[in-house]
């Protein structure tokens, strides 16, 4: 499967690496506008220029440019757009002008002209020619809700977001929280994926870069024991149950450095469910730069193959290629193991 990655920011560089790790995918090219740090650090990448001006700037920086976006689109099956959030619509015409490449847009895109919101465990075939991925926070909540299936009837979530990405020092809040006084976009995205679910969400931004945190309350159709709950969550090994009685996101981030993954990627969402009268509460801790990568790979594979490919098979291929087993040594264990340990 010939795959193009547009953009090499915090998501794009991880996508390029993830695509390269898939046995059935080929990284045909990465498209950039400027010679950013990743382009300079990874000269092995097949770099294509977004425009003539991009080619000129890249050449001046000593980057070997293999061609232009248009050259690449003629020889690709799927393209994932990892450009700046909520600007995908400005690039759509450039993609549509060449060939029939299938398009997937990274999280944060709200414009329905880019295609339906799609998640490999919920509506794996909804994006036929073009689709949008849920945001990082939404992805982590979708994992929980998808694992619960029809058991969940309502969800409330508060998202505590990092003020900036790990490579951007200029966007942070130095000492304080920014609390949004309006419902966040996550509720709309969750309703799009789970139309029967009652959802409310709020968001705040905090001065940290150790990953987002979500406080999720789920109301269930009928009460479940803690073990029953964990057995349901075990359906998705991208959910890892915290091994410790507390989650320190800085310590989790530090523990990831010993696992040998590029950029210390944590594809898994860390969860600690706490039973309540009507369902359960939980904290979710996620690596906002890596958590969407598995679902993005799933969706590229599913868009290319269509319904002929079983969604669970597509997800398993991704998990195997990215080393997702449900175990994060020193951090967490698969939900199924947590049941056994009780």
């Amino acid at each position: 499967m010939r795959t193009v990655v547009v953009g090499l920011g915090v998501i794009g560089k991880r996508m390029a690496a993830a695509v390269s790790a898939q046995p059935d995918m080929t990284l045909t090219g990465v498209v950039v506008r400027t010679p950013g740090p990743t382009v300079l650090a990874q000269p092995h990448l097949p770099v294509y220029a977004w425009s003539d001006e991009s080619a000129r700037v890249l050449g001046q920086a000593g980057v070997s440019v293999k061609g232009h976006l248009a050259d690449l689109l003629d020889e690709a099956d799927v393209l994932i757009d990892c450009g700046p959030a909520r600007t995908g619509i400005t690039r759509l015409d450039a993609y549509r002008a060449h060939g029939d490449v299938k398009l997937l847009f990274c999280g944060g895109e709200r414009d329905a002209r880019l295609g339906p919101l799609a998640h490999s465990a919920v509506n794996p075939y909804a994006a036929r020619t073009s689709g949008r991925l849920p945001s990082c926070n939404t992805t982590s909540v979708v994992r929980v809700l998808a694992a619960l299936g029809s058991e969940a009837v309502a969800a409330k979530a508060i998202f505590l977001r990092c003020a900036t990405d790990t490579d951007k020092a200029g966007k942070g809040i130095t000492n304080g929280a920014v609390l949004s006084c309006h419902p966040s976009h996550h509720a709309d995205d969750l309703r799009a994926l789970f139309p029967a679910l009652a959802v409310e969400t709020l968001a705040a931004t905090l001065p940290m870069v150790s990953g987002h945190v979500v406080q999720l309350d789920v109301e269930l159709r009928s009460p479940l024991s803690p073990d029953q709950l964990l057995k349901l969550l075990a359906a998705d090994r991208r959910l890892v149950v915290s091994a410790a009685p507390t989650i320190s996101t800085a310590e989790v981030r530090s523990a990831m450095t010993g696992l040998g993954r590029a950029w210390d990627n944590r594809y898994e969402a860390l969860v600690c469910p706490i039973p309540t009268d009507r369902g359960f509460s939980c904290w979710l801790a996620l690596d906002n730069e890596a958590v969407t990568i598995p679902e993005a790979v799933d969706m590229l594979r599913l868009m290319a193959a269509g319904p002929a490919l079983d969604a669970s098979t597509a997800r398993l291929l991704t998990d195997e290629a990215l080393g997702i087993t449900g175990f994060l040594p020193g951090i967490g264990v698969p939900a199924a193991e947590a049941v056994t340990a009780r």
Binding site: P37, Q42, A169, G170, T174, R253, D264
Partner: protein, 176 residues
């Protein structure tokens, strides 16, 4: 002691031990050798590159000032250490003075030199190191800034605890 870190007598000695090793390395790669050096260290939140249970919040902590004997022919080097609310790396702002008329230079091959613009902040710099595949604990001294002044050279150098351990191993090998 964390894995990949150098042993020091006390935690209070850690930044000064590290500074002494960095200053010694920088002096060694500078031609001609400087006649005077000075250094300000910005240390990670709690003295190690990692989670800090007792780091400053919206504050800079003054961890002290010492005169370090870096090399016999060099007058003692004043070193000031400040701790900031970050955990990615250590930063050493080093000034090297040379005799009037000297044309000092450093052997840049002995340092990891960042592309233009990447050293403008530690967020970009450390993520570039990740992009290179070196993870969070790189052992090189990373040159973030280089300026010629009327007196000599001003350098801004980043390093991690792994770099400290590497320099300490080299010192032990020399001492043997």
């Amino acid at each position: 002691m964390m894995a990949g870190t150098a042993a020091v007598a006390t935690e209070a000695d850690l930044p000064f031990d590290f500074a002494g090793l960095v200053l010694g390395r920088l002096r060694a790669i500078c031609t001609p050798a400087p006649v005077r050096m000075r250094c300000t260290v910005i240390a990670p939140a709690a003295g190690r590159c990692g989670p800090a249970g007792n780091g400053p919040i919206d504050a800079i902590r003054d961890l002290g000032h010492r005169l370090l004997n870096v090399q016999q022919t060099l007058e003692p080097v004043p070193v000031r250490v400040l701790a900031a609310q970050q955990t990615r790396c250590w930063l050493f702002s080093v000034g090297m003075d040379h005799p009037e008329g000297a044309e000092p230079s450093i052997d840049s091959a002995a340092l990891l030199v960042l592309p233009p613009g990447v050293g403008s902040d530690t967020a970009r710099a450390t993520q570039y190191l990740y992009d290179l595949g070196q993870g969070s604990q790189w052992s090189d001294l990373v040159l973030c800034g280089y300026d010629r002044t009327a007196c000599g050279i001003e350098l801004l150098v980043a390093a991690t605890d792994a770099g400290h351990a590497e320099l300490a191993r080299a010192r032990e090998a020399c001492d043997r």
